[in-house]
Amino acid sequence: MTHVTRTRAPLYFAAMAVLILAVGLLQSWNSALSILNMGLISAIMALGVNLQWGYAGLFNVGVMGFVALGGLAVVLTSMPPVPAAWSAGGLRVLLALAVGAASIAVSILLWKRLPRGRARGFILAAFLIVAFAAYRWLFDPAVAAIEAVDPATSGYLGGLGLPVLLAWPVGALLAAGAAWLVGKTALGLRSDYLAIATLGIAEIILAAMKNEDWLTRGVKNVNGLPRPVPYEIELQQAPWFLDLMQQIGANPVVGSTIFVKLLYAFFFLVVIGVIVLAMELALKSPWGRMMRAIRDNEVAAEAMGKNVTGRHLQIFVLGAAVIGFAGAMMTTLDGQLTPTTYQPLRYTFLVWVMVIVGGSGNNWGAVLGGMLVWFLWVEVEPIGAWIIGLLTAGLEDGSPLKAGLIERVAYMRYLTMGLILLLVLRFSPRGLLPEK
């Protein structure tokens, strides 16, 4: 941490704490803790993007896709398996996927091994058509059989029934795998092609999650995901908890919701602590210096014998893993997987606002940006509604103008976020906590 950060950072974090405390005092402690929890998760997403952009200058516009993969990991890891669905077509689906993967591998091999010329194209095309037909012949009936098993409650394969905390690293692995595929194809190309490629992969991941009901239940959502903390209702019946509430003189119903949120906050703080520590150590290591050298002058770094594309791939995968980890945490906090809620404006571009506002290249900046921008995202609407309420106080209730204005307030957050991003980029491009 450099001099500027050392003096500024505690001040800003204290101000952030005051903002959250103010929500607790003025609105409710439940909303304050909700903002804190989602703020911490957003901060981890911002750390992932910071790793890619701040350390290496890689422009990833597919944050949403990696977040969604983290969410998928929670379902695949922690939900109980559906035995009827597995016996209906589970193995056949796996076989179909293996055939699909194998045919892609074979076609890559064919492309590399066959002599150049028109014949190569025809052979490859013929092979792909046959492979696709075989894949669909295996895949379609299996999917139909799985989705027919009790569609109202399951209709999918379920997960492995493992503890939900395991899903967090699994989410990181899934996201890292997807990032490796994207990086392999797009990192060799010009920088904005990586952006378009990540935009595309995010849309594909989302399309698959909405559509592959056998895996994710699609738009029917997976509800009731297991959680790493006790349920409120259990707490309200536990004698030790009731005693505790009585001692501090709190309402056990409200107390239980706050207690659960505090437990989540504890988990998230531990994760964020570990990630920030690891990232700070990495940044100060020779590896971190090499990364910044590559970012600042690729040509010079290449001349020094650094494998630029290889390093880029490495850091792109690492950053995506952090984002996937955060995505799994978020779905665990929500307790459900709702594929339709993943939207690029919310999950990709908002995280970018966080990184830019916080200060790209600075991990504490990413954390601060994540917390602050999430706070604004949640609070702009009530603040806007309050201002509109003041402005329209003279108008009688039920006038169409007033109703219209109040309805429009909901979209003010996009406008505000865009404005904040533009103002920061223009007048303080290094963000709240600049890189050294």
């Binding site: 797009a186 378009i196 399309a207 406008l415 991003l421």
Partner: protein
């Protein structure tokens, strides 16, 4: 006879919609490509620009309709188009002065401009939603069909009908006129030539006395026209929903890149490549194959290669394949 029926079904469900969609994508991609060629960044706010233009057209159309001004069999939206273009032009010029000009002056890295454009995207998104909300709006009026399925069946004696909606025909006609005017402007006029010179070699163009700010202004004006026309045509054809225009960003970018970003001809070709692949890969061929197969036989499934939800996946897959084998796109990129 069955072969003709299959052909008609294929035309009706694949060729006509894909051509229309391709023309809309091509117009969108032309805007992206012009910005890339002159201002040298990928404009993420382009989808929202199309949305803004279409929104003004929707609102002006509603105003005209309420005053009883219509174009008879043609949609009133055509009358509203110039107003949409003018409003979008004002918005884009204002954005350029307020936002982009600064980064041009400090010669910011292209990737920074892309991030700036996402900020602009956010703001335009908020503005559009604050003005019209998020509801679905249909604003097509006038004659619904140019060729009606029943009339076609009566005329041809086939089982399968062919329907061409007025909006589909108008899309093609308007797109053709727009593209012809654009190419005439770029290739024949002095201003267009100075734009191409600036895009090819900035230093040389500056040396020969081309005013860069003027080139930039004209580019934004062209982009405003292209984006509004593309947005309005897409809205006429389907319906106007702010949410959809944001999703159009991927196919529009895919079209521009597949064709060779910076190259207007490529943008048009890319638009049709993407549109035809999307529609053919997600169309259920059951009907066509039933006609072609033996009497009384029909395939069990829908014979759909991919579910409709995967249309973005198609654009993206084509994008990747083209980039892997021809990194500069089908036509050589980056030249107006």
């Amino acid at each position: 006879m069955d072969f003709l029926n299959a052909l008609v079904a294929f035309t009706n469900f694949v060729i006509v919609p894909a051509t229309t969609y391709g023309a809309q994508l091509a117009l969108g991609a032309l805007g992206v490509t012009l910005i890339y060629a002159v201002l040298r960044f990928s404009n993420f706010a382009h989808g929202e620009t199309m949305s803004f233009g279409a929104m003004v057209v929707v609102l002006v159309t509603a105003l005209f309709q309420s005053r009883g001004i219509t174009l008879g069999p043609l949609p009133t939206a055509l009358l509203a188009l110039p107003f949409g273009i003018a409003a979008t032009a004002l918005l884009l010029l204002f954005t350029d002065r307020a936002v982009y000009r600064f980064y041009r002056r400090v010669k910011a890295a292209p990737v920074l401009l892309v991030i700036v454009s996402t900020g602009v995207m956010f703001m335009m998104n908020g503005i559009v939603r604050m003005i019209v909300g998020v509801d679905d709006r249909r604003f097509a009026d006038g004659e619904r069909f140019l060729v009606n399925a029943r009339d076609f069946r009566a005329w041809s004696g086939l089982d399968e009908g062919l329907a061409i909606r007025t909006t589909q025909a108008i899309t093609l006609v308007v797109a053709l006129i727009t593209v012809a005017l654009l190419f005439w402007f770029l290739n024949r006029t002095r201003t267009g030539k100075s734009m191409r010179a600036y895009s090819d070699n900035e230093d040389l163009a500056l040396l020969s006395g081309i005013n860069p700010e003027r080139v930039v202004t004209i580019t934004w004006l062209l982009v405003a026209a292209l984006a509004t026309i593309a947005g309005a045509l897409y809205g006429l054809d389907k319906s106007f929903r702010p949410f959809v225009f944001q999703q159009l960003l991927l196919p529009v970018f895919a079209a521009a890149i597949v064709g060779g970003i910076g190259n207007p001809l490529g943008a048009i070709a890319g638009g049709f490549v993407i549109a035809f692949s999307e529609v053919t890969l997600t169309y259920a061929f059951k009907k066509v194959i039933t006609y072609l197969g033996p009497e009384g036989w029909s395939p069990d499934g829908l014979v759909q290669l991919l579910s409709t939800d995967y249309k973005f996946a198609v654009s993206f897959a084509i994008l990747i394949i083209v980039l892997l084998f021809k990194p500069t796109g089908l036509f050589k990129g980056q030249s107006i």
